[in-house]
């Protein structure tokens, strides 16, 4: 090829790509923020969904921007204060009512029929309207090894017949007495933040208490400092007093690897941590349901979900993207990629781990049967912080009743200062 020809070819190519670019510009741009920056697999999947969507139709072009999870909520709040919210945002389930109430989110215009098969924990509803929908849910279970229990003559609990409080306590004491473990149980005190209300408030609910009174959402009195809550608090404190559980100064590294290294016999942990454990222990791994402390076994529901910002000028476009992302294919891909529970049974069948008989299928059942949402109120954000501090203080030996009373006062004062959070 001569030099002139080469030039001409280049010009042609440039012109061609310019034409293609103009074609793309005909699509209306939708901005989207996502919390998963840094996760390689996660980013690859979400990018693929966005590319597929942009290629599948000519009206909308989604522009994705990812944030690290630690600073995501702050970024959203800052953007909202500055009036700069993107069209599509993802939101942690329990935080959603706060953002909806604050006017960051608008109701999601999604047809009922699209999500009728979805796990209850994936649907973000507040004030009778759907605001957000999740592609997955997360679940918590007691992870242990079959051999630990069988060697020590401990009954293996089932979904139908979980451990009672006495059985659970006896099991911990038995495991402690073997002397093989630093601690028989690890509940993850090193994971400060949302983990506390997510993982521990279900235990309180199983005792019969709660973070706030869910009838009125106007007070925590009686729910967080009633007899059931005090009983829970005393049991919680006893775990640490009897040295059955590592305390608040647990090394985060031990939390990540302690169970696999054999330091802990049982780990109260999320399904996202299950993949490396399965890789280590294989068939010997057991995922046990939460114990029943009187009011039935409970675990927390709801993970990250997608919604449309209130300031979006194209809610129909945003909803179109969200509906597109809700295909079983993508739910299954997220599940296979990062171990999350797919939102629909049909998607679960397509996954490696959650298909019937799969090693983590039990999580799907747990999520379906035991999962309960954290209090659905804009006040949750503050109540969760208060709850976290109360549980840390009780673990460190503070007076149970006084601590719970103080937590109730703080939550009530916050509800009052916010004029009842619109309930």
């Amino acid at each position: 090829m001569t030099r002139t020809n080469l030039m001409a070819g280049t010009i042609l190519a440039t012109a061609l790509s310019a034409v293609i670019a103009t074609g793309a510009a005909a699509q209306t741009e939708l901005s989207m923020w996502y919390h998963g920056a840094g996760g390689e697999v996660e980013s690859a999947i979400i990018n693929r969904i966005v590319d597929d969507f942009n290629a599948s139709q000519d009206d909308w072009a989604v522009e994705l921007q990812s944030f690290p999870q630690g600073s995501y909520n702050d970024s959203i709040i800052a953007a909202a204060l500055a009036g700069n919210l993107p069209d599509i945002i993802d939101v942690d389930g329990p935080v959603m009512p706060n953002w909806a109430w604050s006017g960051y989110l608008q109701p999601l215009p999604l047809d009922e029929s699209v999500i009728e098969n979805f796990l209850p924990g994936t649907k973000g509803e507040w004030n009778g309207e759907l605001y957000s929908i999740g592609l997955w849910d997360a679940a918590v279970a007691m992870v242990t090894r079959r051999s630990y229990l069988e060697d020590n003559g401990i009954r293996i609990p089932t979904l139908e017949e979980p451990w009672t409080r006495e059985e659970f306590d006896a099991a911990l004491v038995t495991l402690e007495e073997t002397g093989e473990f630093q601690y028989p149980l690890d509940v993850g005190m090193a994971w400060t933040g949302e983990w506390y209300p997510y993982a521990f408030s279900p235990l309180l609910q199983s005792f019969g208490g709660d973070i706030v009174d869910r009838e009125s959402y106007a007070t925590a009195e009686g729910a967080l400092n009633g007899d059931a809550a005090i009983e829970f608090g005393e049991w919680w404190q006893s775990l640490f007093e009897r040295d059955l559980v590592p305390g608040t100064s647990q090394d985060p590294a031990d939390r990540e690897t302690g169970f696999v290294e054999g330091k802990y016999a049982i780990s109260w942990n999320g399904n996202w941590a299950a993949v490396p454990i399965l890789a280590e222990y294989g068939d010997d791994t057991l995922f046990l349901p939460a114990p029943d402390f009187g009011e039935g076994p409970v675990i927390g529901a709801a993970s990250w979900q997608f919604g449309v910002s209130a300031t979006s000028e194209h809610p129909e476009g945003a909803a179109a993207f969200i509906e597109f992302a809700l295909q079983d294919e993508y739910l299954a891909e997220f599940s296979d990629g990062i171990g999350l529970i797919p939102a629909t049974p049909t998607a679960a069948e397509m996954t490696e781990n959650y298909a019937e008989g799969g090693p983590m299928a039990v999580f799907y059942e747990l999520s379906e049967e035991q999962a309960r949402l954290r209090p659905v109120t804009p006040g949750y954000v503050v109540a969760a912080k208060v709850f976290e501090k109360a549980l840390a203080d009780i673990a460190n030996g503070a007076d149970v009743i006084d601590t719970l009373d103080a937590a109730v006062d703080e939550i009530d004062a916050d509800i009052e200062r916010n004029q009842g959070y619109g309930h």
Binding site: I77, D254, K385, D393, D402, D405, D414, N418
Partner: protein, 358 residues
């Protein structure tokens, strides 16, 4: 006229100062006045509710105190009931502080301090015990860190104020922690203080041939604050050492020569030549350390989060925790204003105590 030349060059001067002044105005002066204003409202970080003027409510909420004298529980005969250890039993406080119409002024308060008074028990109640604890912790921190850090920094400055080969190596080493981000330093010290196999525990048990029982430095209410003090002193000591050093180098060598000729001892030289020469430096350092110590935040945020049992709560940490974590901007602002008043008072007292006496 010379006046016009002055205004002209002033204009250029102002133009050059503008970026600096502008930033200071927007990010320091404006927030300062905003904090004052917001502390009298119920402003939230995010909320659809309109902001309302609430007067001194936030201050009352933070500073409210009450005193209650508890009488011991008595049986029917009027004798004092004691538990198995012989300690007198008192009625539970929640009977007084929760919805008791006879003690409405104590409603929602919590026990802060208490002591025995004969058979009775005097209880000081606070509306916000965590904030009270934060004030006490911060003052303790300042009272320990200011003199100790200043003294160690002076010691180091005297050590490196010599003409020795390679003295710059030592200067660099002492100054190094100052250059590293406090967040990084805090993370490292979290490993050092680790309760199981932290460096400090390992060193102490090696030095004592295994006699030393490992201590969970940051997980123990008794050791958490001292641990953070030690680490903070180490981290910033190099900075103050450099200021001392600058002060030392302003002292004229002729004074030392004269003292030497007069046959003064090392201590006398320090006491009568060095120390008087460092007077202004000392005032500066004391004020700077005090103000920095009051601003204690990053170490707490990274290392303990205010725990265990509030033993490391501090004023600034509480301000951030409330304003941002609990979305209560008015509460956070109120704490900032109180901190400002506190630091201002203490600085004025320091100024008065260290004034030039003529």
């Amino acid at each position: 006229m010379s006046r016009s030349r002055l205004t002209q060059s002033n204009r250029a001067g102002w133009a050059m100062a503008l970026p600096g002044f502008g930033l200071i105005a927007v990010f320091i002066i404006l927030p300062f006045f905003l904090a004052f204003g917001l502390s009298f409202t119920n402003q939230r970080l995010i909320s659809p509710n309109p902001t309302e003027w609430v007067g001194f409510d936030n201050y009352r909420q933070l500073m409210g105190l009450g005193v209650l004298t508890l009488e011991p529980e008595r049986d029917e005969a009027g004798a004092v009931i004691r538990d198995e250890d012989g300690a007198i039993e008192y009625p539970r406080l929640r009977g007084f502080t929760r919805g008791n119409p006879d003690y409405a002024h104590l409603d929602g308060m919590r026990e802060w301090l208490s002591w025995g008074w004969g058979e009775d028990r005097v209880v000081v109640l606070a509306r916000d015990v965590v904030f009270m604890t934060a004030i006490v912790n911060t003052l303790t921190f300042v009272l320990v860190v200011a003199p100790v850090q200043a003294a160690i920094a002076l010691g180091l400055a005297l050590l490196i104020n010599q003409r020795l080969r390679g003295i710059n190596v030592f200067r660099t080493i002492y100054f190094m922690p100052v250059v590293v981000s406090i967040v990084v330093v805090s993370l490292l010290w979290r490993f050092i203080y680790d309760g199981n196999d932290g460096l400090l525990n390992n060193i102490l048990s090696a030095l004592s041939f295994g006699v030393f029982e490992p201590v969970d430095w940051l997980g123990n209410p008794g050791t958490a604050l001292p641990a953070i003090m030690a680490m903070s002193i180490w981290q910033a000591v190099g900075f103050h050492m450099v200021i001392w050093l600058a002060g030392l180098q302003t002292i004229s060598p002729t004074l030392y020569e004269a003292a030497e000729i007069e046959g003064s001892s090392r201590w006398q030289t320090f006491r009568y030549v060095t120390w008087p020469g460092l007077r202004n430096t000392a005032v500066l350092i004391l004020i700077v350390i005090t103000m920095q110590a009051f601003a204690l935040f990053a170490q707490i945020d990274v290392m303990t989060g205010g725990g265990p049992l509030d033993s490391t709560q501090t004023i600034v940490f509480q301000a951030v925790e409330r304003g941002y974590g609990k979305q209560d901007i008015s509460g956070g602002s109120t704490i900032s204003v109180l901190l400002f008043l506190l630091v201002l008072t203490i600085s004025l007292i320091q100024r008065y105590l260290t004034r030039e006496r003529s």
